[in-house]
Symmetry: C2
Subunit: 371 residues, 2 copies
């Protein structure tokens, strides 16, 4: 896949301009991060020196860039967009520079959700009359609905993390620590094609009952269940995220029982996905199965999160989110059951299709017993 | 060194409270990032779910934490501080929760410099009467002056990156690409004790004339100078950053000549460091040597940046910064000369001492010719 032209099409800047105008904003200001990458393909470093794509509702977009970063910006996919680069020097004030180039008297400007607060406050001082709002409200409408090329990038990410899960049994042994296993998994995440490792959870025994366990020096014992939740970012910029449960030797009987409930809950939740269904209904589908088995209190987190250029983005699959799903939306379906002294979670990334869903992860969902 | 007690002393929260009151702020709000780590030792993940240490000018500090992160927060160094943790559930509004727990009618609150704008805007909506300012103005006074334990952590970071520079000649060969060499250097950064690789610049030939060159597939040719600027973060949280120049075989004669000027400029600039001297004078010391050699136009960036829990922080060694140096301030001294078709930069981290400076990097400054 030609990442630059297919994944980051040239017309996106224009779409953002239209969405900016439609939202009643005078401009959006995008500092390095997923929004800037989405619009331009430029994977810029977030630095204390301001880099900012400015997309006015009317007028031409431009990018304010520290002179030191100008070669990188020009060589990046942003260089092919025909946007003017406005370099600034070490003793310039890039916030005032940006304000001067924008139409005067703007009422409202949108800021990249992940812009640093210190930059937002400097823009406020440079444009005291402009109300600041989150640009996420503009960009989410575009970013939430993945293009065919984005879905393909998520498929590649899913296949890469699936290959890692298939290798996990090589690494898991009683007597090894979570950290040792985690290091091998991290190496495999890179070896299987990711550019960066985003997280590695190896929750053994009681640590598996903590959904966000950190890697520890705990030694994995025989017969212990292990929750493995892993993800990375591909060179395309798109993320993977998948969870499976393993056991080093024969698991406790109750674990097999509630893992079977979880498999059912995760399957039913995925099958609830189709256009028009609400995220909260997808959440409820998993929750109902688990509650019916008398385990409802042990599933205490949302069922999922959107994924794309960020591992967590909209839409969130959570009670209260009633905005109907549409084809192209991509998110995790990851119910968990954590009764202690162990826990389990099964997670796939799925994409809502015209008539249902397509899973990005296809590794068997069953409990994998490592001999 | 016992990282938790020495590097992140318990009394820091109290110092931040005093500084908050002194700055006329009602509270500071610290989301995950270097400020939160500085105050508590907690290296929290920056997530879309709000984690926030709230330090009111009067009253007890507390930390708002997603319930999923509560075990990690309690197990972190923040757990020993006696701060109340306020967990919130998936369908709660943590911004409103924070506002309710603060004294009503606060005039001004400080936000962590790196807080995401989307969070700053949600805090604004939850506390519409409170003017938001950058908490960096409060925290910089503390963070800029390193404790003895912090200087020791920077020494360890400096020694680790020095060991990497000593290994660079193993990796550099004509016929290898920058990316291949960079990958070996990245592995060495980890092998020599860093927890993460922050950046690896291997600027060969013309790429050396770009101070912020990205790793490329350019093949390094015989007789080509190579700028190697590398850094990482140690398990302590403290950063390394050091630049040396290499040549694969005999360098061009003009390169030797301007590298000698650069060595002199970097040495003179370091020797200018002592309490009471301004950063702009340290900058000028390097600049004057380079200008006197007729090369002034080829040194177009500031001379340095502070370093600690961030690779770039205050104080910046730049024209216009007239706030006198004090003992304990730590920063890079890194003049460069980029006349093309190659360039050079020499960078050490130095700490201002009571009567001068201590370098954290002691690898020979000379051009290293790889046979």
């Amino acid at each position: 896949m030609d990442v630059t032209t297919e994944l980051y099409p040239r017309e996106r800047v224009g779409r953002v301009r239209e969405a900016t105008a439609k939202a009643g904003l005078g401009a959006v200001l995008l500092t390095p991060g997923p929004d800037l990458r989405y619009v331009t393909g430029y994977d810029a470093h977030q630095l204390e020196r301001l880099t900012c794509l400015v997309v006015p509702a009317s007028g031409e977009p431009f990018m304010v860039v520290p002179r030191l970063e100008l070669p990188a910006a020009e060589a990046s996919p942003a260089g092919r967009l025909g946007i003017e680069f406005v370099p600034w020097d070490e003793t310039d004030d890039p916030y005032a520079l940006t304000a001067r180039r924008l139409p005067q008297g703007l009422d409202r400007v949108g800021l990249a959700d992940r812009m640093w607060a210190v930059m937002a406050l400097r823009f406020r001082a440079a444009m005291p009359g402009a109300e600041q709002v989150a640009a996420g409200g503009v960009l989410r409408e575009l970013r939430m609905r993945k293009s065919a090329a984005e879905v393909e990038a998520l498929r590649e990410a899913g296949a890469a993390i699936d290959r890692v899960h298939r290798r996990v049994p090589e690494f898991l042994r009683a007597g090894r620590t979570e950290r040792e296993v985690g290091r091998d998994i991290a190496d495999a995440i890179i070896a299987e094609g990711h550019a960066t490792v985003d997280f590695v959870i190896v929750g053994s025994g009681p640590n598996g009952a903590n959904p966000h366990a950190e890697l520890s020096d705990r030694v994995i014992g025989p017969g212990e269940p292990v929750v493995v939740d892993i993800g990375g970012t591909m060179p395309s910029g798109y993320c993977s995220d998948s969870t499976r449960n393993y056991c080093v030797g024969e698991p406790p009987a109750d674990y097999r029982a509630y893992h079977a409930v979880l498999e059912e809950a995760q399957r039913v939740s995925c099958e609830a996905v189709r256009p028009g269904v609400t995220p909260e209904a997808v959440d409820a589908a998993a929750r109902d199965v688990i509650a019916a088995a008398g385990l409802g209190e042990h599933f205490f987190h949302r069922t999922g999160h959107g994924i794309g250029l960020e591992s967590h983005e909209e839409p969130y699959i959570v009670a209260g989110n009633t905005e109907p799903l549409e084809a192209g939306m991509a998110f995790s379906v990851e119910p968990g059951i954590y009764p202690g002294p162990h826990g389990a979670r099964i997670e796939d990334i799925v994409v809502c299709t015209r008539d249902g869903f397509e899973p990005m992860n296809v590794v068997d969902h069953g409990l994998f017993v490592v001999d």
